[in-house]
Amino acid sequence: MPTPLLRIENLHTEFRTLFGVVKAVRGISFDVMPGETIGIVGESGCGKSVTGLSILNLIPNPPGLITDGAVWWGQENLLAASKRRWIDIRGNKIAMIFQDPMSSLNPVLTIRTQLGEILQVHTGQSSSQIEAECIDLLNKVRIRNPKEVLRQYPHQLSGGMRQRIMIAIAIACKPDLIIADEPTTSLDVTVQAQMIDLLREIQAQMNTAILLITHNLAVVAGMCERVLVFYAGKIVEDAYINDLYTQPFHPYTQGLLKAVPRLNSSDQEPLATIPGSPPDLIAPPSGCAFHPRCPLAMQICAKEEPGLLSIKGRKVACWFYDPRRAGNSIK
């Protein structure tokens, strides 16, 4: 059994607000193998971005707090790591790509300064070595005129170019894991397609593990081997991508896949909707958080939270698949 690169165990993160305590992440556990690409999908408020930030311990301390759980990186629990250890980890072993490249890049520094900064901090290279490395990195992210781009400022570049710079910064120190938080959401669809292909190529070349956080099920289909579906701060389904898209088990996943209009469908029946709206995380519903909106809801769903059941090579958190349910044909 190969050891996982990253193991999240029972992570709980919450935020204190004027209205109460928002439980953003309520018990997330999963593994990431070396070189694996995993997609985390869910709608707004499901806790996917918070999970990404929690792994890197970037949750702002008031108002947020990681209240429970462990993040295992090899043998050590990152949540207990010292500040110095974090400087070594962030950017170097685990890198992050954020959603909005304009606000993630410093508008008053040139690209050369920003890209060089991470190399300066983590490697001891001289200025000319860093310069050569920067050009190499820009080539890796397929920018045609790297020397010119290095001298420019973020506002002179398009959204797609800036996102490539972000990717270059992320891969600069050859990290073992890249967490990409909605990297294509603010981009045009043609640029998005380029980004996905670029990330795929980089992943293949460097064998980095990638955690792709997005709300777009289609983008995940192009990149990932495995998918985690998040709802209300918990994982509701964890499956390999082909299995998930051909036969989704959890009613929320089924609803999501049916609610997305397809380019290549010829049928014109109305989009299936999931009634209601995402739950309030200050006072989540009792039992399974999805039960008020679920077409398959049963008595037990309102009473107790289902754990992750392992069935047929995937994990589902749904009472419908409990072996004790009469008429359950799926074993």
């Binding site: 009634p275 209601g276 709206s277 049963m298 309102a302």
Partner: protein, 303 residues
């Protein structure tokens, strides 16, 4: 746990839409609840209330009037009969400080209100219509802003002769420019927002959009601005009185009292101390409150 009925379908009546459970808060309630958490601002508010009570109700509780002189009891230090002592004409300083409070607070409020009205209308029109109108109106503001306000006020007072009503006038027409700039800035950013466009698209006239949509949404910064204008007005009034252009004797404002007090500072420091103390305390309290209001109404902290 092995009860098979647990797995029977949930009846639809108990599957209800999860409504937003938060209580319905409008703009003021939301701001107030946030203000309450800010201790310093609450202290400021409390002090303002105390000072107001002191000034407006106090004179009824003190057995002296502000103008009654008693030449046998001049320059008394604070005693149990005269808590703040007496001045050179034997008048009780405590009640004069209270009256001073009335005048200073009244000046602060009225002058700020006049500034508010002029500034809001001017800034609103300038910001909304934009273009050449805005350019022209703002150049006027720039010119007025570059002249020291104090000079304008002093000149006005020299022309108009000292008196309470004239103080209102002089202060009221001198620094509406700050308010105008703030309002203009707010309007400029709000008028491109989608709800303003929606109002235009529904067919609202320009004035309707300005007064029904844009200006109500600037009430936050306007309130903060007014709250911070009041101590300035109080200070200016005190200054005017200090240099002899304010209210005339025997009426007492804090500035007049301070002016009287400074002449006797070596021998009778309490005569300066009490009015000065109250000026400082009032100004500080309004500043604390104004800062707290600015945080409480900050739209980015909503949602």
């Amino acid at each position: 746990m092995n009860n098979p009925s647990l797995f029977s379908p949930l009846p639809k009546e108990s599957v209800h839409q999860v409504e937003k459970a938060r209580p319905s808060l409008n703009f003021w309630q939301d701001g107030w609840s946030r203000l309450r958490c800010n201790k310093i601002a609450m202290v400021g508010l409390f002090m303002i209330l105390l000072i107001s009570l002191f000034s407006f109700l106090g004179p009824f509780l003190v057995p002296y009037t502000y103008e009654k002189t008693d030449l046998t009891n001049t320059f008394l230090s604070p005693t149990w009969q005269h808590w703040f002592g007496t001045d050179e004409l034997g008048r009780d300083v405590l009640v004069r400080v209270m009256w001073g409070g009335r005048i200073s607070l009244a000046v602060g409020l009225v002058a700020s209100f006049i500034n508010l009205v002029i500034g809001v209308v001017y800034g609103g029109v300038s910001g909304y219509f934009g273009g050449k109108v805005d350019e022209f109106m703002m150049r006027i503001v720039d010119i007025i802003y570059s002249i020291p306000i104090l000079l304008i006020v002093i000149l006005l007072m020299v022309i108009l002769k000292p008196g309470l009503a004239n103080i209102f006038l002089a202060l009221g027409i001198s620094y509406w420019v700050g308010m105008a700039r703030i309002v203009r800035g707010q309007i400029l950013s709000l008028k491109e927002q989608e709800f303003a466009l929606a109002a235009k698209m529904l067919g609202a006239t320009n004035l309707q959009v300005l007064f029904k949509h844009l200006l109500p949404n600037t009430i936050g910064p306007i309130t903060v601005s007014v709250t911070l204008m009041i101590p300035n007005a109080i200070f200016f009034e005190a200054f005017l009185s200090f240099i002899g252009l304010g209210v005339s004797a025997p009426m007492a404002s804090w500035g007049v009292l301070a002016s009287d007090g400074i002449r006797a500072i070596r021998a009778y420091p309490y005569l300066l101390f009490f009015p000065a103390f109250f000026i400082c305390l009032t100004m500080l309290s309004f500043n604390f409150l104004g800062d707290g209001l600015r945080d409480a109404f900050d739209p980015r902290l909503r949602k």
